[in-house]
């Protein structure tokens, strides 16, 4: 077992041990010398005293030196390298794709067979681990020399309803490999959509990656959408393979409610509609015939009317109808299931949390007349998971709001009117902007004549910028919620954004994004929500965080869980292309070693014991020194 240090430079601190040693050596003459005549009467126990003092000095020296050594070693963050890593034994990690696209029974059995082959081909002496991955990776067998256990674990694997996420799986495998020689065998259908989301992934250059392709998705048809449209339920069916007619059945609360045929074109999509008589209930639409991917053959819809989230638009009293009008109208324009209940509250009435009861979102258009209580109420709402959109307009006191949020609130300085500027999103993949067709320049037509300068004072991100590069919209997390600061007004004074076609969807997307933690999603994706039974299609109960609800009481909301429609995408990538999407190199190897060392150090936490011992030593030193 080797000892390692996360920050070995701190070991230079061991040199400070010389300080007490040198002091000890010079201290021999530090005791004052008192010439005395009657020393004969001090000689009754002088030898004992001197010896005791010498022993005491040595003990003090040892304690002080030990304290300095422990301090230096503690800062160097020591850890013991685990025996597994020290042994240098290889590791074969067999990764089996259990996403919904692997649901074909025959193909999944083939995948398991290939995985078994990978276990059998692991070099003698290597350990084997088994990982199942879809939306989340799960290590079903930790590194072991027992290959029988690994094979047995394979037999227990079943395809799930979750989507493929390669990045998360590879990151977990790299983490599992730590610093050991490793071979990754990934058994998958190489679905391209599996690369869409997930963390950045990098593998050490010396990790061997083998991609075992189980072949393309078999001919498949699935339901990719089911939406209530007035008194009808619109169902979208997509499929691969030749044109054919399929039967789609509807059941509400478990009772059959009709069956309709749909003509599916070759490699295309079709829609079928069911009349709805029920206002409430849990609807399930399903293909009559099970095909290649069983998980996408059904889809669930909750027919119950959704409680609308409440948005409060705060305006300055006496500012006129135009202030806040545009924001209110834009939020009210949203249709079910994304509609808002919008209230306009003048700032002088916002003197506590009562006006914000049940609200998920606050849009500050004016703050004149608002005092610290109002600002604190807004901050408390965001802390609990709500959203705040602060527009820096002519009647907004940013400092008042900032004082309630603390030092991390963005620094805002209102500038003078200047040249007309346009606005451009920084990342079109951000949820606020991904709806917009940027080729048409949704925001380019808006003209800003006066803006504020925003500087982030803590973790956050710039979502949009003006033409001059200054931030136009920033977002920041605060507690459980989010706040956004828009560097101009939304009252048609300093800009004409509110008159642009992009304004209504922009304000709605921003509202849903900022208030997302207190606003229920429209539906859940199987395998991605941390809720019981949310790993397969169906209906689950969703509760807002911290019991936040419209009326202040906990209200569970039924939400449909469905397969990610992207999982039905048959597009694949080649094995080489797959491998090329993974960053490799010594930097990753070093990063892996560092990460491994950090993990070991964090698990062992020897520095705590060291510092504890140091404190005990100093206490003992103090006691001995005082008695001496």
């Amino acid at each position: 077992m080797n000892i390692g240090f996360l920050s070995p430079l701190f070991l230079l601190g061991l040199l400070t041990i010389a300080i007490p040693i040198v002091l000890h050596l010079f201290r021999r003459r530090i005791d004052p010398i008192v010439p005395f005549a009657a020393t004969r009467f001090l000689r009754r126990a002088p030898v004992e005293q001197a010896q005791r003092r010498r022993l005491q000095d040595l003990l003090l020296l040892a304690l002080r030196a030990a304290a300095l050594a422990l301090l230096a070693i503690g800062f160097a963050r020591p850890y013991f390298a685990s025996p597994v890593d020290a042994s240098g034994a290889g590791l074969t990690i067999v990764m089996v794709d259990v996403s919904a696209s692997m649901g074909d029974e025959r193909r999944f059995a083939e995948a398991l067979e290939r995985a078994g082959d990978a276990i059998g081909s692991a070099p003698s002496g290597d350990e084997v681990a088994v990982m199942a991955f879809a939306a989340r990776p799960e290590v079903v067998v930790e590194p072991t020399a027992d290959r029988g256990a690994a094979r047995a674990a394979l037999e227990r694997l079943r395809p799930s309803a979750a989507a493929t996420r390669y990045r998360a799986a590879l990151a977990r495998a790299a983490d599992l490999a730590r610093t050991r020689p490793a071979r990754l065998v990934m058994v998958t259908d190489l679905q391209e959509s599996g690369w869409t989301e997930g963390p950045h992934v990098a593998l050490r250059g010396d990790i061997v990656l083998e991609v075992v392709d189980v072949g393309p998705m078999p001919v498949n048809a699935g339901i990719t959408a089911a939406v209530r449209d007035g008194n009808e339920l619109a169902v979208r069916v997509e499929g691969t393979g030749p044109a054919r007619e399929l039967q789609v059945a509807l059941a509400i609360d478990g009772q059959p409610a009709g069956q309709r045929p749909v003509k599916l074109p070759a490699d295309g999509a079709a829609e079928v509609r069911f009349p709805l008589r029920a206002e409430r209930g849990r609807a399930r639409v399903a293909l009559a015939a099970i095909d290649g991917v069983p998980a996408d053959d059904e889809r669930w819809v909750v027919l119950d009317p959704r409680p609308r989230p409440r948005a409060v638009v705060v305006t300055a009293p006496g500012a006129g109808r135009s202030e806040g009008l545009y924001v209110r109208r834009a939020l009210e324009a949203a249709e079910e299931p994304r509609a808002w209940d919008v209230d306009v509250v003048t700032a002088d009435r916002l003197r506590g949390e009562q006006p914000l009861a049940g609200a998920s979102l606050v849009v500050l258009v004016g703050t004149a007349g608002m005092d610290r209580r109002g600002a604190d109420a807004v901050a408390a709402l965001v802390e609990r998971g709500g959203g705040l959109l602060l527009t820096v307009g002519p009647s907004v006191n940013v400092d008042l709001v900032a004082s309630a949020f603390g030092e991390r609130f963005p620094r805002v300085r209102v500038g003078a009117a200047g040249a007309e500027l346009g606005m451009t999103p920084v990342d079109i993949r951000h949820p606020i902007f991904r709806l917009f067709d940027l080729e048409g320049g949704a925001f380019n037509t808006a003209r800003f004549t006066q803006t504020a300068t925003i500087a982030l004072a803590g973790p956050g991100s710039v979502l949009a910028r003006f033409d001059n590069g200054a931030p136009a919209l920033v977002e920041q997390r605060h507690g459980q919620g989010r706040l956004g600061v828009f560097a101009s007004d939304l009252s048609n004074r300093w800009n004409d954004l509110v008159l642009q076609p992009a304004f209504v969807p922009f304000i709605n997307e921003a509202a849903w994004w900022l208030a997302g933690n207190l606003t229920p999603p429209l539906e859940l994706v199987a395998g991605e929500a941390a809720l019981p039974d949310a790993d397969r299609p169906g209906v689950v109960a969703w509760t807002p965080p911290a019991g936040e609800s419209r009326n202040g009481s906990v209200a569970a909301l039924p939400l449909a869980v469905n397969v990610d429609p992207r999982e039905l995408d048959p597009d694949r990538i080649g094995a080489d292309d797959f491998a090329s999407r993974i960053e490799r190199g010594e930097a990753e190897a070093q990063a892996a070693r560092v990460a491994h060392a950090r993990r070991q150090e964090a698990e062992q936490g020897w520095w705590r014991y060291g510092l504890g011992l140091m404190l005990i030593g100093l206490v003992v030193e103090s006691l001995i020194g005082r008695r001496g």
Partner: protein
């Protein structure tokens, strides 16, 4: 014979004495101040004593040397036909290294020198012949008793020149002095008595056997009596330079027990031997010492 006026005590205060320039001035100040506080004069006349031979000491008049004895024995012996004085007093001042200690304004040696000078001055006023002998492990200075003019000045100069010497060892010097002293003289020992008590007491008894009255002024510094130290320190012996590293708080009890035992032992043993024992704290005035002398002097009459 009591000191009656406290205002005059200031001349006996060691701190005041330390500020006086010369030993003679110190002695005169002390004695005059002391005497002015007494109710009655101690000066009395007394009868002549017998003649004797004794060893010659520097200061003796050459005419008193018995040249016949010198011719026979090759030794200088003083032939005393008659007493020139009322009393011969021998001031034996310890000048060993330990006498160099002092926690206050005066060391024990300085205090002892002032005491010796004061006694000499007082003796001169009484027409007593005072001699001075300083010693550590041997006799360092010898000034024979005399009433000659200028004798007091010579004695004071001798006192003024004293420096702390080697270890205390009263055996050899006391033996030698006892042989040389006049019978029935007055021996005044001024010492911290940091020697083997048995040897010290034996020496005193020897003086007593010679018929001398003996007064012992046991000088101890205030710090030696109370041991006021509280910080860890290395205590260096003033006679052999050995060091003892210790924490005073832990040794105080045993030290005080030891020093008290020494004092009690001297007081008891010397008292039994007919020796006047007077413990003097060098931080306190000299009046008790002068009173002790006068008491002993009066008892001889």
């Amino acid at each position: 014979m009591r000191v009656s006026r406290p205002g005059e005590l200031r001349f006996l205060d060691p701190a005041v004495i330390a500020r006086l320039a010369t030993l003679e001035l110190r002695a005169r100040t002390i004695v005059e101040g002391f005497l002015s506080g007494l109710h009655r004069s101690p000066l009395r006349g007394f009868s002549v004593e017998f003649a004797e031979y004794r060893q010659y000491f520097p200061g003796d008049e050459l005419s008193t040397i018995d040249w016949k004895v010198y011719a026979r024995t090759d030794r200088y012996v003083v032939k005393k036909f008659e007493e020139e004085t009322n009393l011969k007093a021998y001031l034996l001042l310890d000048v060993s290294g330990s006498m160099g200690y002092g926690s206050g304004s005066l060391t024990k040696l300085e205090y002892g020198a002032v005491l010796a000078a004061s006694l000499a001055y007082l003796m001169q006023r009484q027409r007593d012949a005072a001699g001075l002998f300083t010693f550590d492990s041997e006799i360092r200075t010898a000034v024979a008793p005399s009433l000659r003019p200028g004798h007091l000045s010579a004695l004071l100069h001798a006192l003024d020149a004293q420096q702390p010497g080697a270890r205390t060892d009263v055996g050899p010097p006391f033996t030698r002095l006892a042989d040389a002293l006049a019978k029935r003289g007055l021996v005044v020992v001024i010492s911290d008595l940091f020697d083997d008590p048995a040897r010290v007491i034996k020496g005193m008894k020897y003086f007593r056997h010679r018929g001398c009255d003996v007064i012992v002024f046991h000088l101890l510094d205030t710090a030696e009596l109370t041991f006021p130290f509280d910080q860890p320190a290395r205590f260096r012996d003033m006679e052999d330079d050995s060091e003892i590293l210790m924490h005073p708080a832990r040794a105080r009890d045993s030290y005080l027990e030891g020093i008290t035992g020494l004092i009690d032992g001297y007081r008891r043993e010397l008292g039994a031997a007919g020796v006047d024992y007077q413990l003097l704290d060098t931080g306190r005035p000299l009046d008790s010492a002068l009173l002790a002398y006068l008491t002993t002097r009066a008892r001889r009459q």
